[in-house]
């Protein structure tokens, strides 16, 4: 049940049978969700007598309400959610598959965002982990509403990790809060040391940057220290880990980073 949009019982099956004014519908297989097809939403207009109406509202206020609901739901479950953002092909799905292997003892679930196809959710499900694909259609980012519905289908266990792989895009996902505990930016070493400077917002919004594909560093003349300098220039507080999802280098540090964050959240909750 979506408490914010009130769009009713978002069951997997049956959802496509009734009209839905959010412009999305379910794919019959695995409950994958498709956005960006339906009619625009209808709002209920209010009244005002003034010629100038003060609004003072964030443009993304609606998204932020969905995100807040998601955050509350995650808090009540003691679940730790990360929003993985990067350009396409940096290795998000590969890293997730490897991460799932390393976290065999911890309950987790995955939300996969792409414009089209269920390829990535299929890759995750092949590891045995529960995953749901969200197709954004034309949309260049996931939003709080999409993630709220996806979470309903995942039946998150207490204390789990929720990994949200955003649409591959270094710009737009930075602005859309999904209710996650933190954003993690993945940057593969073949993308160029200047990317944090060219797309600063994403790296400023991230708590951790993963420099992935370090196994390729010897072949591409890259300066890993310069990557780190540029990342700290746009976000002096960012954590940085050098990883190869292919060889497993740096995976232990990444897993311990994740577990430390989850522990922090549990402590915070206990203190409240």
């Amino acid at each position: 049940m979506c408490t914010v949009c009130g769009c009713g019982d978002a069951k997997l099956e049956g959802h496509q049978h009734h009209h839905h004014d959010h412009g999305y519908h379910h794919h019959p297989h695995h409950g994958d969700i498709h956005f960006g097809h339906g009619p625009a939403g209808v709002a209920v207009p209010g009244m005002s007598q003034e010629r100038l109406i003060e609004i003072e509202t964030d443009i993304l206020a609606k998204n932020d309400r969905y995100a807040l609901e998601n955050r509350k739901r995650l808090a009540s479950l003691g679940a730790f959610a990360v929003n993985l953002v990067s350009s396409p092909g940096s290795g998000k799905t590969t890293l997730l598959c490897k991460t799932i292997e390393h976290l065999a003892q911890t309950p987790l679930a995955v939300i996969e965002g792409d414009q089209q196809t269920a390829n990535d959710a299929d890759r995750i499900r092949a590891t045995g982990a529960p995953a749901i694909q969200v197709n954004t259609g034309k949309g260049c980012h996931l939003d709080g509403h999409m993630v709220g519905h996806a979470m309903e289908h995942l039946d998150l266990a207490h204390g789990s990790f929720l990994f949200i792989e955003n649409v591959g895009n270094l710009v737009c996902p930075a602005a859309f809060d999904l209710g996650e505990d933190c954003k993690i930016a993945i940057l593969s070493v073949t993308e160029g040391e200047d990317k944090p400077l060219k797309y600063p917002d994403m790296f400023t919004a991230a708590r951790l940057a993963i420099l992935n594909k370090v196994d390729l560093a010897p072949y591409c003349d890259v300066d890993l220290d310069l990557y780190e300098t540029n990342l700290r220039r746009v976000n002096p507080a960012i954590d940085i880990l050098r990883v190869s999802a292919r060889t497993g280098e740096g995976m232990a540090a990444w897993i311990s980073w994740l577990n430390a964050r989850r522990a922090e959240k549990i402590l915070q909750r206990a203190a409240e």
């Binding site: 100038l52 003060e54 443009i59 260049c140 917002d201 507080a237």
Partner: protein
Amino acid sequence: MHEMSLCEGIRSVIEGATDRKVTRVRLEIGRFAGVEKNALEFAFDVVMRGSVAEGADLVFIDLPGHALCYDCVKEVEIMNRLDPCPTCGGGRLMPQGGDEMRIKDLEVI
């Protein structure tokens, strides 16, 4: 770009606020909000079609970008995201505000 989604957000706020004809919409946009104003204007015209704000003027009010310098620990105002600290010349600045995207007010008839 996400300017289309922003305009859908603007439309839904407007439709929730009034059913009168809107002639002007004023937005406050922070310097670091990452908004491409030309793209936003274009998307605005398209998205407002068929709404009370169809054909409305879009006015931008720019808000300054502030940052905290990790070298001299002062809060400073900068024009561009990659500018050095105007106080100490340092290059490690954390934006503090400047990412605002707000609808300020509507003019209606």
